[in-house]
Amino acid sequence: MKIKKIMGMIIVLILFLGAGYFLLRRPYQEYSLNLFYMDTYIQIKFDTKKSRDDVKKIKEEVTKIYQDYHELANRYTEYGQNVYYLIHNTSEEEVITVDPKLYELLSYGETAYQESNGLLDINMGCVIDKWKYYRERKEGIPTDEELESCNSVNRLVLLGENQVLNNHPNIDLGAIAKGYATEKVKEYFESVGITSYIINAGGNVVVGTPQNKDYYQVGIEDPNDGSVFKVLKVTNQAVVTSGGYERFYEYEGHKYHHIIDPNTNYPSEYMKSVTIITDDSALADQLSTTLFLMSIEEGKAYIERYPNVEVIWYSNDDEIIMTEGVKKYE
């Protein structure tokens, strides 16, 4: 009799503990954050056990990172000592000081210029604007005189200690700012212990390690019809595609897109798209543009100096060419 009573109490106790566990444990919760910066819709999802207050703070911090780089890299509106200021300031000073974060980003651009032998050039603002003018009208192309007038624009000169020569260089950070800011967000997530996250900044995708499955599935868009031609299984990687098929216009039977080759001052036409897979989002952004500006053969040789970078080219003849290591993501 007594044993049965004790048994009964034990069962009740177990049930209460079980119920308590279900009620009190704090499970992983999924949170999402949608932002509009750098002309892009940025969609972020992350999983964490952190409290609501902590999550609120994290969302504010992530928003601030994107907003900061949006403002620093902005060519059309002045926000403090940003790119607009660099181009248009009326100061008589020979040397000006820019925001330290912008200086770091400009230095990153300078390094990318060196590494790419001049192909990825942040000094292309003037030429980009000439093309943008016609792209927005969906008619005509810049004249040779218009493009040549850009030759007289000064190049950026970095002087160290956040100082640059005040020679009004026409900077455009479009090829690197998004990937650079996203890398900062990734670093922030990791610093606060969030490992399960996916960031989609207008098709530049960066993922951590998902909490509830083995990997994230990232598709790559087919430049011909917008479908998905390949699915990658990735963790802790950035997947970034450059292509001419999203932003372009057609004039006299020819398509003109937005990625300009500094050697010709015309849109580059080596391929339909190129996708980079690597763990650094800033590098992925930089390399996708760089590889888009050279032939596939040149790209294959160029990429050898970067370990752990995988590439998928989509050629003009609709051939898909991949580096050996893409296999591990299939």
């Binding site: 049930l15 119920a19 279900f22 509009f36 819709y41 995708v205 599935q217 790559i220």
Partner: protein
């Protein structure tokens, strides 16, 4: 252990099973749905498992945005913006597709279970 003890234990077992079932079901992902955001706020969720055509309206930055769903697809039917890019886009039905109405700060995203997490483009 008398009869009342037995009944009590029985009731507790049933209650805890119900509790577990509740938590299990609420944690499982729901079926396919469209989620409409205004900036970062979810303003509408549309069940995409229903076949018949349905029309919804949400408040965008430039006024009302009309959204239609049918046969597991969803589209923005009308909105007020300079280029009408998002109403020109038409229906979407896969989880990697989104409709972005930048001027109205409205985003329509599809959530489903067995699908891609993102698409690089």
């Amino acid at each position: 252990m008398n009869k009342q003890d037995g009944i009590l234990i029985f009731i507790l077992i049933i209650l805890s099973l119900l509790g577990m079932a509740f938590f299990y079901l609420s944690e499982k992902d729901g079926p396919k749905k469209a989620v409409v955001y205004y900036e970062d706020q979810v303003v509408l969720e549309i069940d995409l498992t229903q076949k018949e055509e349905k029309t919804y309206q949400v408040e965008g930055f430039n006024g009302m945005v009309t959204i239609e769903s049918k046969d597991g697809k969803v589209k923005v039917a009308s909105e007020n913006s300079p280029l009408h890019l998002c109403s020109k886009q038409g229906y979407i039905s896969s989880s990697y597709e989104t409709i972005v109405c930048l001027p109205n700060k409205i985003v329509v995203a599809i959530e489903a279970n067995d699908s891609l997490d993102a698409v690089a483009k």
